[in-house]
Amino acid sequence: MSAPATAITALRSRHLLGIAGMTPEEITLVLDTATAMKEIGSRTVKKVPALRGKTVVNLFFEPSTRTRTSFEIAEKRLSADTLNVAIGTSSVVKGETLVDTALNIEAMQPDMIVLRHSSSGTCHLLSRICKSAIINAGDGTHEHPTQALLDAFTIRERKPTLAGLKVAIVGDLLHSRVLRSNILLLTTMGADVWVCGPPTLIPADIRRFGVTATSRIDEAVEGADVVMMLRIQLERMEGAYFPSLREYFNVFGMTEARLRLAKPDVLIMHPGPMNRGVEIASEVADGPYSVILDQVANGVAVRMAVLYLLAGGADHEETT
């Protein structure tokens, strides 16, 4: 079922804590808004005044290059005043609690906090104590909603609709917040989602998410319209999740040969950072089906859309 193009103009929640709870209409609104935002990036003067006078704090408790840079560029293109707080320079190292850190930042009256944290549920926690809008930039192994939105945006640029597409997501399912957000988004939009990885890295009861789970990669890739690869963290070997990187690549790595099972116009995606030769062969990552760098490019437009909508969208612009 394709999402109906009803004309909603705002998100119901003040926060973006996750894809969970978003309706197809809301997801479509973000993606449609991102289309308009993408055009701004191609102008000579890449700046609009939409968030003029708004203060956005990027609160990152976990190292991140791609996501933090992407948010910061998005904020600047919308003329927001931005501030980066990274764990190394914050008072967290002095033993302050997350709640106190957040309340102190909150006391300086920012409008939005973009939060990245290694513990699941931290965005929910902050949303209960902060007046600012909280945007989840990745919390533990829970959700990474802007990643799923930019993935959907990237697919939508090349496929007429998300509904009915076979999307295979392959890799470390257990520890991936990208997986959870993507499952929620893609199933909400009517895609046929397959997840694949070694049984040691498949979360309990994953079928209750409405996906097909398998450890046979050929089955997952066969006839797929989209193949998303998830990063394998090298330290997982120590937890005995799989024996070796070599064996992992042999059994689950995405090679050109495996990719031939997919549709001829398959898209290869990866949220980054990639481990070449572990979850994905370089020939595939750099090959003609890869849209990995498009994902990164689209990340800015999608985050602009999220920031814009949470700031009040067109309503806010009229008052400034």
Binding site: S120, G121, A204
Partner: protein
Amino acid sequence: MKKLLKGGRVIDPVNGIDGEYDVLIDGDRIARVGRNLPVDGVTVVEMPRGFVICPGFIDMHVHLREPGQEHKETVATGTASAVAGGFTAVACMPNTVPVNDNANVTSYILAKAAAANLARVYPIGAVSRGSKGELLADIAELRQAGCVAITDDGHPVATALLLRRALEYAGMFDMPVIEHCEDPTLKGDGVAHEGFHAAALGLRGIPGACEALGAERGILMAELTGSSFHVAHMSARASLRAVRKGKEAGIRVTCEVAPHHFTLTDEALSTPIPYDTNTKMNPPLRELADRDAMIQGIVDGTVDVIATDHAPHHYDEKNVEFDRAPFGIVGLETAVPLTFDRLVHTGLIPLSKMIQLLSVNPARVLRIAGGSLAEGALADITILAPDMPVRIAAAVLQSKSKNTPFDGWELRGGVAATIVGGRTVYLNPGAPVARGL
């Protein structure tokens, strides 16, 4: 001085009593239970209609936190919480700072309990020194000082060998070994029950098998040694199966279930408040099939005891990221309303069974006084108001800590009064208990 409780429904399962009787208290003892007892020279307390008089409740799994963690709870606040919850006695876990692994700590706790003068306190000693799982604690001295059981609660006993030795050694005093059943490798750094809800929230899982493996190990060691083994805070259906089989085989194994494990499921992790750290405890809230198995075990008698695992934590400690929050919730003041509402008023168990689970059986497991209103027994009495509406309000709990997931819950059935050694130590201001108590 004599006091006559008149006109209540007396339920004393051990003595086969269930009906309208008078209870005569003389000093700290029960003098008589009978009909139309003489009222001359005694203070008569008329019981309101429907009130139930029963042997005092005993919570055999409580963390009083003193010595060392007085910011969470003290013996005084913990026993105030106990009597407000209808408990005339509590057994307190040894994971204090320092650990209750020697007679000095035991005596300290008992001195604090005597000073508080509310509920009776039965300390439980450590199995191993510092609960470190290496050398046995001075178990005979602990017993002499007043400990009624041993455990390394908070953690399982480190090895099967040490558990075997503890069972053998404590066996000479007929002291039960209480075990926090858990395989540490399967627990890992898990924070919630391994299932759909933990997967959806991105929380690291703890499977039911983690507990069941510990239960199976302990039951095997109980069979090997012939000593008494008690499974603490049981939550997983596989553990229940292990206990059931052990009992069928004649092994001396008993077990307890906490009210939160027969009330809640892991769905509480996400609803109504996602990542509420008051839904984080160890063992964790399990899935529906486990929750229902705990209820079934209570109904069919496999479960011996309802115990709260009362685990107070300071507000600051719980107001953090879910995976950084300590495990545990307070339970003393919510146990009776939850048991009434979820088990008795639903028709799953009769009131007499509730009294066995909360009074008779814990006294038997710990080999302590209580659980009976026989002539000459200690006058430890809980008076229940089975139909009283109860609204749980975390802010007004007697416990120093307010970490409960049941805040705002409306339940039916509560405690009207608590009597310890003939002395009224708690009167519920919301229950119309007659004057004179």
